[in-house]
């Protein structure tokens, strides 16, 4: 497959001679392994119009799809004003990805350290022992949870000495101060065990009461070792879950970002408008709304602020101008689904113009129209472009659209 290029009339205004507005470099587009477009090179200068002619149907649509990002290119590149039509990795993307990663990491960590018991240790236990809830006490209890320190809990009028997550009861006392004293003793033993062999304390007495069968307190070497290892265990779980979640979140958001890099909206924001072979309008919106939505998006595209101010009156005025210029002013308030095919095409072109594009791609405007309508459409396109707008039209070759363009390009299989 090659491409023939046939300079027909190159007297159109050339605005920037060195960098063409649209430059396609060795573009290959495949469909199911079969090349639709093979190593195409095409430069379109600003303000000129090009007709792309091919008797087959697939290649032209594939070319327009590849330009506006609907279809991925197999190889080669499409540049508008020397820039690829891809979203760049900006500072905003970086912070977004990082924020997502940290958030997913925190969620994973919360699940791994058991948020239910964390809540018990940090919030509920403070209420039980009547501690005021201030940031300082909150922080202290949070730290003690992650250090797996022993705690005092209440059950049915008794005070229990429990592990930080409340799973294991070590001793029961009737009196709060007595329980706290015992807890401090045991905590000292556990802390000593963490750093060295420590001393197994001489705390052997009977615990339990009427509610709980009496049993002997077992603070032997194995229990001590287990309690001492608690800190390492919970920290390991928390950190490993956080790091896994961090990478998962960063990876996921990067993958999502990568998939959305080359998409029609990115091309549209760079200033590429297109129409489709069978017109695609918003059927349940009126003609007026169809254009208005595009005008507003054009305003959003131009403004760099985060929350752009849309001047409603200006938008409405511009919408009316556009509808008048394509001759649909009588049908402004009828639904787009009630228009004829010719009117739908006009509407689509007006919608393309509404976002104030730099280049307009029109896919087979001749399709499904009689000769008279084709001529009217060609006049309309010539009128709306008037040398300022760059135009790429595809056609089957036997219609008036090739005539209104500055040059024609044949995508013909030899």
């Amino acid at each position: 497959m090659t491409h023939g290029e046939n300079m027909k009339a190159s007297d159109g205004p050339v605005l920037s001679a060195d960098i063409p507005l649209l430059s396609i470099d060795r573009l290959t587009v495949q469909s199911g392994g079969i090349p639709l477009i093979d190593e195409l090179e095409l430069d379109v200068s600003a303000g000129t119009s090009v007709a792309i002619i091919d008797s087959g149907r697939g290649s032209k649509a594939a070319l327009l799809d590849a330009i506006c990002g609907l279809r991925p290119a197999f190889s080669g590149s499409v540049r508008l004003d020397g820039r690829r039509l891809k979203q760049a990795f900006s500072v905003k993307t970086f912070w977004g990805v990082l924020f997502t990663g940290i958030l997913v990491g925190l969620l994973c960590a919360a699940a791994a350290v058991d948020i239910d018991r964390l809540w018990l240790a940090v919030v509920k236990r403070g209420l039980v022992v009547d501690e005021p809830f201030t940031p300082a006490t909150f922080g202290r209890r949070l730290r003690s949870y992650f250090r797996a320190e022993l705690a005092v809990d209440r059950l049915a009028g008794n005070w229990r000495i429990v592990t930080a997550d409340g799973r294991e009861v070590l001793a029961v006392r009737r009196d709060l101060s007595e329980a706290q004293e015992l807890r401090n003793q045991m905590q000292a033993a556990v802390t000593a065990r963490r750093t060295g062999p420590g001393v197994v304390p001489d705390i052997t007495d009977l615990v339990g009461d009427a509610n709980e069968p009496q049993r002997e307190l077992l603070l032997d070497e194995t229990t001590l070792d287990r309690l001492a290892a608690g800190k390492r265990r919970i920290r390991f779980r928390g950190w490993s879950a956080f790091i896994c979640g961090l990478f998962l979140g960063i990876g996921m958001s990067l993958a999502i970002w990568q998939r959305g890099r080359r998409s029609p909206e990115v091309a549209a924001r760079a200033g590429v408008a297109r129409t489709f072979r069978s017109p695609r309008n918003f059927p349940a919106m009126t003609v007026f709304e169809n254009i208005l939505v595009a005008v507003e998006q054009g305003v959003y595209r131009k403004s760099s602020s985060w929350w752009p101010h849309v001047n409603k009156a200006n938008c409405i005025e511009r919408t009316e101008d556009l509808i008048r210029s394509v001759g649909l002013i009588d049908q402004s308030f009828s639904f787009a689904s009630n228009l004829t095919r010719y009117e739908q095409r006009c509407l689509e072109i007006a919608r393309g113009l509404a976002m104030d594009p730099r280049i307009l791609l029109v896919d087979e405007p001749a399709d499904g129209m009689n000769t008279q309508q084709q001529h009217a459409m060609a006049d309309l396109l010539k009128e709306v472009c008037k040398g300022a707008l760059t135009l790429v039209v595809t056609s089957a070759g036997s219609d008036p659209f090739a005539l209104i363009c500055d040059r024609t390009v044949h995508l013909s299989p030899n």
Binding site: P264, F276, G352
Partner: protein, 360 residues
């Protein structure tokens, strides 16, 4: 005579366009004419109004943006849960009602954004499955995080709004508990604000972008609308509004109650109400909820108590209750509406246009 007719038709036209004003005026004046609204009936109608709010949130997503959402009740429950966590005296935070509502609505909306951002690129049916799964996950979490959510018992008692505020020596919080008209008015005001908000959103730039994405995503993309962002905004707003409704609900009941109430059944019931009323239509949504939930919450208990009395007088036993047939009745109503009025009872003009197109 002629002038009267003209003015009447003019009034009709006006009230068709601004239907909120007469409807909300009647609802606001109702407690004066019907004193029973201060008692149990007021509480029942309040819960219908609250579900209206949640259904409006769902309508933003299903009606305007065209995304099927099967987990709206989980956002309803999340909003209520956060309010409960922030206000119950069991927990140390105990911030006031208004800041708690503000925080819980924002957190619920943020959770909506988080759930939506990776999943809104999915096509319709997959998104429906994701929301369905999320609803179940939330319900199971509610049941199992016992220390946080209170498990099956729920968190409570939630202090009523305005507790601790004294106006001329009367404790507002006590008034809220004693007289259900207070909650009735609170829900009515919130519903009115939400109706206005949804109406403004529908006519805004964002609303047009929602409808554009629903109608023709490809064409919307070629004019620079990012479908994901637009859908995400709808998801967030739906979650936030549902969370607000959840806050009101738990505050009026006084406890978060059984988490199973926020499960799949509630979600589908709200979705049915939106569909019966008319997708994408605000007045239709309100009518749908009033019919479906009004029937369920208000009419059935009333009819049942009445029927029980008659049966006991005549046969000495009560053997038939309408309550046991209510789901069947709802199902029949749904089938009948879908058969004879597929666009809903009060369709939006857009959906009516679409149906007309498909019939041609």
């Amino acid at each position: 005579m002629n002038i009267q007719c003209a003015s009447l038709s003019c009034l009709m036209k006006w009230s068709k366009k601004n239907w909120e004003i007469p409807v909300f005026t009647i609802l606001a004046l109702a407690p004066w004419f019907h004193p029973a609204l201060a008692g149990g009936l007021g509480g029942q109608i309040t819960s219908v109004l609250i579900i209206c709010i949640a259904a409006l949130g769902l309508n933003v997503m299903v009606g305007f943006t065209g995304l099927l959402h099967l987990g709206i009740a989980s956002f309803f429950g999340l909003g209520g849960l956060f309010l409960a966590i922030l206000t119950v005296p069991m927990n140390p935070l105990e911030i006031g009602f208004l800041p708690a509502v503000f925080v819980s609505v924002s957190v619920t909306a943020a959770i909506g954004t988080l759930l939506g951002s990776p999943t809104l690129r999915l096509r319709g049916e997959y998104l429906a499955i994701v929301t369905l799964g999320f609803g179940e996950v939330v319900r199971v979490l509610f049941l199992n995080l016992e220390n946080v959510t209170g498990g099956t018992q729920g968190l409570g008692p939630i202090p009523p709004p305005g507790s601790g505020i004294f106006v001329t020596g009367i404790d507002l919080g006590r008034e809220f508990v004693v007289d259900s008209r207070w909650f009735y008015y609170l829900s009515l005001i919130v519903l009115f604000v939400v109706v206005l908000l949804v109406r403004v959103l529908e006519k805004s730039t964002l609303g047009r972008a929602w409808i554009a994405v629903r109608e023709e995503p490809l064409a919307a993309a070629t004019i620079g609308i990012s479908a994901t962002k637009v859908r995400l905004s709808a998801f967030t707003i739906a979650a936030g509004i549902a969370g607000l409704a959840g806050c009101l609900s738990v505050a009026s009941i006084g406890t978060t109650g059984d988490p199973n109430a926020f499960g799949f059944n509630r979600s589908v019931a709200i979705l049915c109400a939106v569909i019966i009323g008319g997708l994408g239509s605000i007045s239709g949504t309100l009518v749908g909820v009033t019919i479906l939930f009004g029937f369920d919450i208000v009419v059935i208990p009333w009819v049942d108590s009445w029927m029980q009395r008659i049966q006991e007088q005549v046969f000495d036993v009560s053997f038939f209750t309408l309550g046991s047939w209510r789901l069947a009745l709802v199902g029949i109503a749904l089938i009948v509406v879908m058969r004879f009025r597929p666009v809903g009872l009060i369709p939006s003009r857009r959906f009516a246009a679409e149906l007309q197109e498909s019939q041609q």
